[in-house]
């Protein structure tokens, strides 16, 4: 009986009454990879609502029940979707694409707190935006392709994987060419570029500015101080800033580049074109003396 159930687990489409199998991804890069790999063989959905950051989004009960019903659940892993530690997901239909990246993760600040009779203990943070190192992104795509090949035997996964890996390799080469082997200090508006900086020769100093909000005088003073300390001449925005913010930063003598981290879908273009354009602008800023 368990063999028959096993076949049902692997092959049967669960709850969503769709013509095509449904793939739910926890972040835009994973949804993009799944779409590229599945072609028209599956419907890919992003679990995170429009405008919400996957690293801070918390699904409600209805969201979790809907995600449970997907034919394949795609997670970035590396702590991006912290809610998965408190939700029940069918592991046979879940792929954690970051599972093989344990040795490549970047530790962030460690939070220490204390309760009960245990005394204090620590939670080690991990940088979550692994896909911004395109070599790691390629390994995530391969892990996803392997899972999709099992879950969606009719999807042209193998054929699509080559094209996706080629695009990621092109981005990786563009990243390698950014600094010409030097280490270039940059300041970023939000702590999302750890893997990008490590992979492509950038010494990243992270602010914690709200996307779309104009910095106040204290924030600008902090930015000036960091620029002096790190000798950074470039500020990387995660999204197009308000005009007054751009003017205020320009007044400090910093070059400004918008490089979307792609955790959420871009307004225009897609994962590859958005990052390609952002990196081109960054390359130009570095070449101009940043």
């Amino acid at each position: 009986m368990i063999r028959a159930a096993l076949a049902a687990v692997l092959l049967a489409a669960p709850a969503w009454a769709q013509d095509r199998p449904v793939i739910v991804a926890d972040s835009y890069p994973m949804a993009y990879f799944a779409e590229r790999l599945a072609g028209n063989a599956a419907e890919v959905r992003l679990s995170v609502p429009d405008g919400r950051d996957p690293s801070s989004w918390r699904p409600g009960l209805a969201d979790v029940v809907a995600i449970q019903a997907a034919d394949l659940i795609v997670l970035n892993g590396s702590g991006l979707s912290d809610w998965t530690t408190r939700a029940a997901l069918p592991r046979a239909r879940t792929v954690d694409t970051g599972r093989g990246l344990a040795d490549d993760r970047i530790a962030t600040e460690t939070i220490t707190h204390s309760h009960g009779e245990e005394g204090s203990h620590s939670h080690e943070g991990v940088a979550t935006h692994t896909w911004l190192d395109f070599a790691l992104a390629a390994r995530q795509a391969e892990a996803l392709a392997a899972a999709m090949a099992r879950a969606l035997p009719d999807a042209p996964v193998d054929a699509s994987l080559g094209a996706l890996l080629s695009d990621l390799a092109t981005l990786d080469a563009a990243g390698d060419a950014l600094t010409g082997g030097r280490t270039v200090p940059v300041i970023v508006s939000h702590p999302r570029y750890e893997y990008f900086g490590r992979a492509y020769g950038l010494a990243v100093e992270a602010l914690d500015w709200e996307a779309g909000a104009a910095p106040d005088a204290d924030a600008l003073a902090d930015l000036a101080s960091r620029a002096d300390r790190t000798s950074a001449r470039i500020l990387i925005w995660e999204a197009e800033p308000p005009t007054e913010a751009r003017d205020a930063v320009a007044a400090l003598g910093l070059s400004q580049v918008v490089l979307p981290p792609m955790a959420t879908p871009p307004a225009e273009g897609d994962f590859v074109t958005g990052l390609r354009d952002g990196m081109a602008a960054l390359g130009a800023a570095i070449a101009a003396g940043g």
């Binding site: 159930a5 687990v9 939700a87 029940a88 592991r91 220490t112």
Partner: protein, 385 residues
């Protein structure tokens, strides 16, 4: 016909003695049948469950304890292994593992912490409500729902692990979000939760308010920390786990290999006696257990024959003595013209009526117990040690 009428009249006149004789005869007839039926049902239930559990992984030790805990959810808890055992199966790509954590109970019903894959692998369907989705949610087996007299919308409380162990597992209140359809297996008598919920009961994961005020000594803050005993939408985000998830305890891992080749490779990986994890094919263990049970059953059969013979002799003696007491009555009947044949017919009619009465009582008893045999056998198996 006259003999039957007179025998019935006599039995009716001595109704207390008649009832005792009929009850004794009914038991002599029913007990061997019931024993055989329950043994056969127990054997069938054990074997069917073992056959539907292709492979179990667990800490090296008693194979029987591992099978009883992992397949039948009994009290025989083997030493726990870790989630690394389940992870290794995932990494191997040879099958689907479903980890089980069966250390806790609620109202003496076993709490089984697992993943949704287990429900899929066993083909367990939700008859009312939905499967567990969040920490702190529980789904009841059909039998467990009846025993606990609870259903969707109710709340259950895990039993404290040890009343005198202040550092042990504290009760966790869990919301019942569904009841499973009956399957006639040990799954009916279990409460299913996500394995992370079981780890919360074990104290590996917990939730609490932010308690450490800036600049405050950690020990002072720890003294006033209160962990949540119920997981609610308001506090669920505060729940977190400590340590490496690969080291979290599991009682056993049910593995459904993708095919025979995968099963063979998987079994081969755990042959090394130095390996802390063992792989057990439940059918092998249960076949050996059933073979022993059948040998014991043969002994029980022999004992039943001897006891039945002794009981029949005792009943015969009782009838003989009652006829000795009726000797003057028989002499009077003889004087009135009743021959020896008529008197023998009277005696035979009484025996036939008593045996018929015993059959009338024993038959519904046997039918009733046989209809409940699966449930009784399941309870007997679940009693464990």
């Amino acid at each position: 016909m006259n003999a039957v009428y007179l025998a019935a009249a006599n039995l009716r006149f001595h109704w207390i003695r008649t009832l005792v004789l009929i009850a004794a005869a009914a038991l002599v007839l029913a007990v061997p049948v019931l024993t055989r039926a329950l043994l056969a049902q127990g054997e069938a239930a054990l074997t069917a469950r073992a056959d539907s559990t292709p492979l179990l992984l667990g800490a090296r030790g008693s194979r029987l304890d591992l099978v009883m805990a992992g397949a039948y959810f009994t009290d025989d808890l083997p030493e726990p292994t870790t989630m690394a055992a389940a992870d290794a199966v995932w990494e191997s790509g040879l099958g689907i593992p479903a980890p089980l954590h069966t250390a806790f109970t609620t109202g003496d019903v076993r709490i089984v912490g697992t993943t949704l894959d287990y429900l899929d692998l066993r083909g367990l369907a939700v008859a009312d409500g939905r499967p567990f989705a969040l920490l702190g949610e529980a789904v009841l087996g059909a039998g467990a729902a009846a025993r606990l007299a609870m259903g969707t919308g109710d709340a259950i409380l895990s039993d404290p692990e040890n009343l005198f162990d202040l550092d042990g597992a504290y009760p966790l209140q869990m919301d019942v979000v569904g009841v499973l359809a009956p399957t006639g297996t040990p799954d009916d008598d279990a409460v299913f939760v996500d394995i992370k919920t079981a780890w919360v009961i074990a104290g590996i994961g917990h939730g609490h308010d932010d308690i450490l005020v800036e600049g405050e000594d950690a020990a002072a803050a720890a003294a006033r920390a209160v962990q949540f005993a119920r997981i609610t939408p308001e506090n669920i985000d505060s729940f977190h786990f400590h340590g490496d998830p690969a080291g979290y305890p599991v009682t056993a891992v049910v593995v459904a290999p993708y095919d025979e080749r995968s099963a063979t490779i998987l079994r081969g990986r755990y042959l090394d006696a130095e390996e802390p994890v063992q792989a057990v094919v439940p059918a092998d263990v249960i076949d050996a257990l059933v073979a022993r049970l059948l040998r014991i059953a043969s002994l029980v059969d022999a004992v039943t024959v001897v006891v039945g013979l002794a009981a029949a002799l005792a009943l015969g003696l009782a009838l003989f003595l009652s006829w000795r007491l009726r000797a003057p009555e028989m002499r009077t009947a003889h004087a009135l013209g009743a021959g020896r044949g008529m008197i023998a017919q009277l005696a035979l009619a009484e025996i036939v009526l008593i045996v018929a009465g015993a059959i009338v009582i024993a038959t519904p008893l046997v039918i009733a117990v046989q209809s409940q045999a699966p449930m009784i056998a399941a309870r007997l198996i679940a009693l464990g040690t």
